[in-house]
Symmetry: C2
Subunit: 371 residues, 2 copies
C-alpha cells in the first residue's frame, strides 16, 4: 500500500464496516458518500456549501474533464482539488463508464476504447495507459483502472469476455502508474453472475491495488439482483482495503450495500433529483412541485441542519415554480446533506452494533412517498 | 416620519452624503446598493451568500411577486424578508416600471394600469390603491408609490402629463396606506426636463412621504443627461429624507449619482452581467470567456474578499465554457461584492472629505476594459 493511503476498519456489525479512510488530503469516516463534481463542480453548489453538507471526499469524471477544460488546465491549476477549491480528498473515475454511456461511435478493442466526443465529435482514444496518464494529471487521491462496461442484460459470454479484458487492463493500468501520491483501485466486473464476480475479485486482489470497486451495477438490474451481485463479491475482497460501489445509488441501495460490506459510494442522484425538485427525507421522497406545498411552512425536513431547511417548503416550491436557479441549488444542498446524514447514521449504527435494527427501520421509509 | 424609519446624514462632501438609514429590520450605511431579488431570490445566490457580499438591504419586485407566488403566499410566509430568509431591511417597487416594460396590452387611465400578465396572459389591474395593498401584504420596510413611467425620448407634453398623473397617484397611494411599520417613498418624474423634475420634486416634498425616489432614468438617455436630470432634482428634495435612484446602474452612474446627493440604489446589473460572464473590477470589466483567461491563475480581482476570488479565473472560465451553473453563481457573487465595495469606498471618501479625488480616480477605470 502506498504510504499515506488506506482504510482502518474500526467496527464491524455482520458484514457491515465502519472505519476511516486516510488519504494525502486528510482522513474521512466510512461508510462514505462522495458528491459528484462531474466537471470539477458539484452542480450549482459552491464548494463551501458542499463542505457544509458534511461531505468529506468528492468524485470528478475523467471523461468530462478530459473534454473540458482538459487535464493540462486542471494540472496547471494545481490538480483537481486545488482547481475546484476543495480542501480534502478526491477521486476520479477512469472515464470507462462515460465512454460507454455518452460517447459516440465507440469502438472497443484489446488496445482500448476509441470514440468521438459527445461535445464536438472529435476523435479520442482511451487506452488503459492514457486513462492513467490523464488521471495522474488530474491528480486526485484515488484513480480508477480503465474497465470495459457491458450494458445489462447481456450474454454470459459477453460479460465473461469484458471481465477478462478488464483484468488485463487492470495490469496495464498498474504498469502505467508513476505517481507515489495517488492510490489506484481495481474494478470488479462480471455482471450478475456470482461466479464471474468471484473470479474477478480473486484475480484483482492478487494485484497491488490500494482498493477495489464494484462496477457495472445500478444499471437497471433492480435492488435484489444488485444485492446478490454484491454478496457474491465482497467476501472475496481483502478486509484491509477500501471497497467502493461505483455510481450507487438510491438510499435503499446504500443501506443494502453497506450491509454487504461496502465502504464508499458516489452518485449524481442527490443533485440530479434536487434540480428536478425531488427531495429526499427520512420519511420518504417529497415532490416539491405538488400544490400541497404552496403554503407549507414546514422545512423540507424537521431537524435537518442544512441551509435549505432554514426556509419553508412554500418558499422553495415558489422558486421552482418561478424557474429561479436558487430552487435547484437549495434542493441539491438538502439532498447532499440527506445522503451525508444517511451514511453517518449507518456508521453510528455499525459502531453501536445496531445496524440490522437501524437498516430495518430505514428501508421501508425510502420506498414510501413522504408528506 | 414614521417612528423607526429615517436617514441620519453623518457627513457631506459637496453634495455627496454619507449616513445611516434606520428601518424596522435594522440600520444600514448609505450610500447603499440593494441587490435585486426579483422573485424573492437574488438569482442563483443563497441568502447567506448575499449577506456575505456586504449587502444590507434587498429589493424585490411587486409585479413579479404578485404574479408568482402571489402576495398572499408571501404574507403567509411572514412577509418578504422572512419568506426569503433575509434578516434585514427590504424594499418593494410598486410594479409600475415592470407594467410598462414587461406586461402585455397595457392600458393606462387616470384610474390606474390595466394589462395582461407576461406569464399567462391573465388580466390584471394595478391602481395606486392596489399597488399599495399588494406592497402592504408583501410587507417590506419601504413601499413605493405607483407612478406612470414614460419611455424616453418623449414629447414634453407626454412627460408633463405622466409627471402630473404620478403626483395625483402619489396622493392616492398615501391615502391608501394602513401599515404603521412601512415607509413609503414618492417618485420624482419629469423625464429630462429640469423644470418638470423640479416641479415634481417640490410637489412631492410637500406630501408626507418618508423618502423620495428619482424614477424614469437609466432608460438609454446616457450618463450626461442622467447627471443633468439628477442635478435638477436633488437640490429640491429635503435633506433629512433618503433619496433613491431607481434601477441604476453602471458603476460610473453610481459614482455620479452619489456626487449629486443620492443615497440609495438598486440594479440587476451585477447579477445579470455575472450570469453572462462579465465581471466588474476596480481595473475595469473582465470578459471571462476570453481565451486569455484559460490558464489565468489570478483571482477575478486581487484583494477582493469574495467567495469567487478564492478561485482562479481559469476555473471560473472553465465553469462558463462547460455550462456549469456554478459559473453564473460565482460571477454574480463577485459582482455583488464589487458593488458593495464600491459604495463602501464612496462612503469612506465622503467621510474623509476626499470624494472628488476618489471619484476622479474611479471614473476612468470603469470605462476601460480590464485585463
Amino acid at each position: 500500500m502506498h504510504a499515506g493511503f488506506g482504510i482502518t476498519v474500526e467496527a464491524t456489525d455482520g458484514t457491515a464496516r465502519a472505519g476511516t479512510l486516510a488519504t494525502w488530503h486528510g482522513s474521512v469516516p466510512t461508510p462514505l458518500f462522495m458528491p459528484v463534481a462531474t466537471l470539477a463542480s458539484v452542480k450549482g453548489v459552491d464548494i463551501g456549501r458542499v463542505a457544509e453538507t458534511g461531505a468529506g471526499m468528492i468524485l470528478a469524471n475523467t471523461y468530462h474533464l478530459h473534454l473540458r477544460p482538459g487535464e493540462e488546465i486542471v494540472a496547471e491549476g494545481g490538480g483537481l482539488a486545488r482547481f475546484m477549491g476543495w480542501n480534502g480528498p478526491t477521486l476520479t473515475d477512469s472515464g470507462g463508464f462515460q465512454v460507454f454511456s455518452l460517447a459516440k461511435q465507440v469502438k472497443v478493442t484489446e488496445e482500448g476504447a476509441f470514440f468521438r466526443s459527445h461535445i464536438d465529435g472529435s476523435a479520442i482514444d482511451l487506452t488503459p495507459e492514457r486513462a492513467i496518464h490523464i488521471q495522474e494529471r488530474l491528480g486526485a487521491d484515488v484513480a480508477m483502472q480503465l474497465d470495459e462496461v457491458v450494458a445489462l442484460p447481456a450474454d454470459r459470454e459477453r460479460v465473461d469476455a469484458a471481465m477478462r479484458r478488464s483484468l488485463r487492463w487492470a495490469e496495464r493500468c498498474l504498469a502505467a502508474r508513476t505517481r507515489p501520491d495517488q492510490a489506484m483501485f481495481g474494478i470488479v466486473q462480471g455482471g450478475l453472475d456470482g461466479d464471474l464476480r468471484q473470479e474477478s475479485a480473486e484475480a484483482l486482489r492478487a494485484l497491488p491495488f490500494e482498493g477495489f470497486a464494484v462496477g457495472g451495477l445500478s444499471v437497471g438490474e433492480g435492488p435484489e439482483a444488485m444485492g446478490e451481485a454484491l454478496r457474491a463479491t465482497t467476501p472475496h475482497l481483502p478486509v484491509d482495503k477500501p471497497r467502493y460501489l461505483m455510481g450507487v445509488g438510491q438510499p435503499q441501495d446504500i443501506v443494502n450495500a453497506v450491509a454487504a460490506g461496502i465502504d464508499m459510494f458516489d452518485c449524481v442522484l442527490p443533485t440530479r433529483c434536487g434540480r428536478n425538485s425531488l427531495v429526499y427525507t427520512f420519511a420518504g421522497q417529497v415532490r416539491l412541485r405538488n400544490a400541497c406545498h404552496a403554503t407549507d411552512q414546514r422545512p423540507l425536513e424537521e431537524g435537518c441542519p442544512c441551509l435549505a431547511c432554514r426556509h419553508s417548503r412554500s418558499y422553495i416550491r415558489h422558486l421552482f415554480m418561478a424557474g429561479e436557479m436558487l430552487g435547484p441549488v437549495l434542493a441539491s444542498i438538502h439532498n447532499l446533506t440527506f445522503y451525508q446524514r444517511l451514511v453517518a447514521r449507518l456508521r453510528a449504527a455499525i459502531v453501536a452494533g445496531e445496524f440490522a435494527v437501524v437498516a430495518a427501520d430505514l428501508l421501508p421509509r425510502f420506498t414510501t412517498v413522504g408528506e
